[in-house]
Amino acid sequence: MSERRGIAAWLLHALEGTDAAAGDVVEELEWRRGEGRAPRFPRAWVAARLWMAVMAALALVVARTLRTMRFVVRDAFRALRSTPGATAFALVILTVGIGAATVTFSVVDHVVIRSLPFEDDERLVVVSSGGPNGNGPVSPPEFFAWHERVTAFESLAAVGTNAILEIPGDGSEALSALGASASLFDVLGVQPLLGRAFTEDNEVAGRDAVVVISHGVWQRAFGGDPGVVGRTVRQTPRDETRDRTIVAVMPPGFTYPYGTAFDREAWVPLVVPAEHRDFRRGRSSYLQVIGKLRDDATLDDAITQLSAVSTSTLSGLSFIDPAEYPPSAVPLKAHLVGGAGGWMLLVLWAVVLVMLVACVNVANLMLARSQSRAHELSVRAALGASRGLLGVSLLVESLSLSAAAVTLGVVAANWGLGAIVAALPGGIARVDEIAIDLRVLGFAAGAAVATGLFFGLAPARQASRTPLAESLKDAARAATAHRRRWRTVLMSSQVALVALLLVVSALFVSSFVRVTTADLGFERRDLVTFMLRGMAGRTAEALEAIRATPGVASAAHLSGGSVPLVARAYGEGGWSGTSFRAADTEEGTPMVNVNMWRVSPELFETAGIEIVRGRSFAAGDEFGQVVILDEQAAASIFGEGTDPVGRSVYGGSRPATLTVVGVARPVRIDGPEQPVPAHVYFPEVAGSGVPSFLVRTSRPAADVVPMLQSTVAELLPAGTPPPEIRPLDEAFRILTAGRRFNASLMSAFGLVALFIGAAGVYAVMSSLVMQQRRELGVRVALGATRRQIIAGVLRGAAVYLGVGLVIGLIAGRLLSELFASLLFEVRPGDAYVYAIVAAILATVGLLAALGPARRASRVDPLVTLRAE
């Protein structure tokens, strides 16, 4: 036969197991030759005949498979319908598990896992400058030095400054354009859709009247006009108006900075004023820097080079020690994800645990069902049904259940996703991209198949392997020790998983409680803050009016830095810094960098900042003569354990010698989880800057705010917009939103898992009691009391609970080391956490077993023994 016939014959043999069909073709050919009707091209004729036979065999296989599957699916649905209660219970548990997992995966996938929409996004790095308050914006001289001398980057770009543009159209639209260096588009690897982006030549005043717009603006304001390049938009900086020429349109979907709540839609050349190009007027830091690493450079290479260049650029400056505060470089994705990445991934693992608990619970349920159907399955096997097919039928039953659960779960997830996204803490990147898309649906489908196989394999295996003779015996004895062992192992596994999840939940709830009760160094309750612009020289008048407002217990003002918590919570304001040394040390002694405030004397009392040594400011204290240090500044300047009151410090922006009159407790200006920089206080200077006011209310802040607003409105010049009055409690809630959300979510998962686990314990104990009713009947007949029966059943449950608990607690202890960095003032080994979890789980587990235990105690020996 030819090569083609060989393949066809091989296929036929594979499908049918013999060469009989090929033999028919050979015989027919010989018969035709004998009849004188030999085909003209015998090889082709034989090949065609064989392939037709292959098609027929394939059609038969497909038809048989479909018929078998129809039978299997019908059998599975019949079995599910026959126990509607158990089916509904399993469906609810699986739906909750899969729905929660789908929502969680959708959030975590979009925020943490997915790549950024930039070319070679893994090489994009955000570079920050070092400082006493942590890493932050970069000054222009540093950026230029890095741009020129750091070779680890293929290209480096900076963004900063803003320009307000008026887009023409029906009712002009005001657009906030971002100043960007021309290299930004190279770094991000994006080419304009139309035109050419601006170049370095445009980064000079006078040549910078150009703008690049987004695809959205092009469509919205210019109707997608292909001739938009060359048209103009008006900018209105202060009192000057000028036009900028559109030079390029970016492709759809492009924006930078990426992942923020507010999409930038226009970019103008970044022009650095001459006075910012060196440090003669101090260090103005306002640039965000992003770079693309070279293929052969690592992040460590970049950091080393950046530090070296920063050190040489900043050396000799009095206000910063570059060696103490080196720059940092972080991958862009990690920068966007920030602290959310760690706890989001943990939440994903937690929800996987919940799904596992649900699966183990349903597996136990399915085992119980297959056990109760053992007799039926054995009879069917005895009548000729294939054991393998019965096993497949049980597996299809499980997969049908999980398919229904995933359908309901996805619907529920789609419905609940909006609520979850709205509840997410602020400041998380890419939140607006979160949706149920194909990738998430793929995850849900995978979860459904995995869970269906997980809880369906055990009963399917049982059905296909239990000896016929054994299962055809009395049904009450069909619960072999093997099957009972499976169920108790599953129950202990479930308890272990619940214990593990409760340990994780308890650690995070504990952390949250510690965060919310942490000592901030001041009293934030009933304390509000606001800024008054346009009140130059009238601070004392304003303070007097505010103090006279009903409901105000005390008031103070400060300047030179933001009120505690406000900068970090609202992203406004910042800090001023200076440096000091002890006045009796030699010149050349390293200065200590500190943050500073200028405050009215009442600040410490109003804010509840404790003066631990010396005194607060008095009415006669003047700026430039006295200073109050916080404990950190005092220890850094004078050494630990030294009383600095009465001694002097030397330094400041206009170096002078100041007398220390008091020491205050440190204030956690950025919240309980951020480092506390050293701080100094100066008496307020009249007319200096825009003061912030702090007001302590004698009633709940919400009651006093309206009265404060009317007081302030009377003080402000006409036409001045009223300030926003913010309770510091609200700022604290914003800062702790991430912790709160995390703790709430972990608590919810823990409760769900506890409920599912309790249901599982109840189901397994009920089943075991049913199977042991003969033995229980005998014990009652021999004189056992109800109490003894109950105690016996609970003892049995306690053993399984105990095993699961021990395994779960040990696993929790080991696992908690992995996320120890996410905890706050709680150690993974804190014994009270494990004690609480053990107590909760033991109590709930024994309560769940109490029902079956009491049922066991009511067994009538006459009924059970007669039935046997």
């Binding site: 009989a20 069909a21 028919d24 050979v26 037709m52 036979a53 098609m55 027929a56 065999a57």
Partner: protein, 129 residues
């Protein structure tokens, strides 16, 4: 399910018995194939069955249609099959022989009865070719 009523030891006893299986309804080509199998006896293999149908009825019977119909009749419980000896004429390959089960003859008879019942009174004349 059928119920048989008997008297045993003075008591009336009801005994449940599985009902006699009913012959499945045959399609036209199934009827022809089944009748070919019945007529060919030990030599009922797909090639011969197809040739018998073509020769006796003049109707084209492709090998694939015959194969599929034979398997369908097996699934209906009307045929069994086994593999005969390999022969030189078939290049050393065996024949796939099909055998009728007891229900097969019953199914053919029932089909012919139905046809006859419908033909009664029509005055049609037909005879074997």
């Amino acid at each position: 399910m059928a119920v048989d009523v008997r008297r045993q030891n003075g008591n009336v006893v009801f005994i449940a018995m599985p009902a006699a299986p009913k012959a499945p309804v045959l399609r036209e080509f199934e009827l022809l194939v089944l009748m070919a199998v019945l007529s060919l006896g030990d030599d009922a293999y797909p090639l011969a069955i197809g040739e018998a149908i073509e020769t006796r009825t003049g109707r084209k019977a492709s090998r694939q249609a015959v194969l599929i119909t034979l398997e369908r009749l097996k699934d209906k419980g009307l045929l069994t099959s086994y593999y005969g000896k390999a022969t030189a004429a078939r290049g050393g390959r065996p024949k796939h022989i099909f055998e009728p089960r007891p229900l097969a003859r019953q199914a053919v008879e029932a089909s012919l009865e139905r046809i006859g019942a419908m033909a009664e009174g029509l005055g049609l004349q037909f005879k074997p070719r």
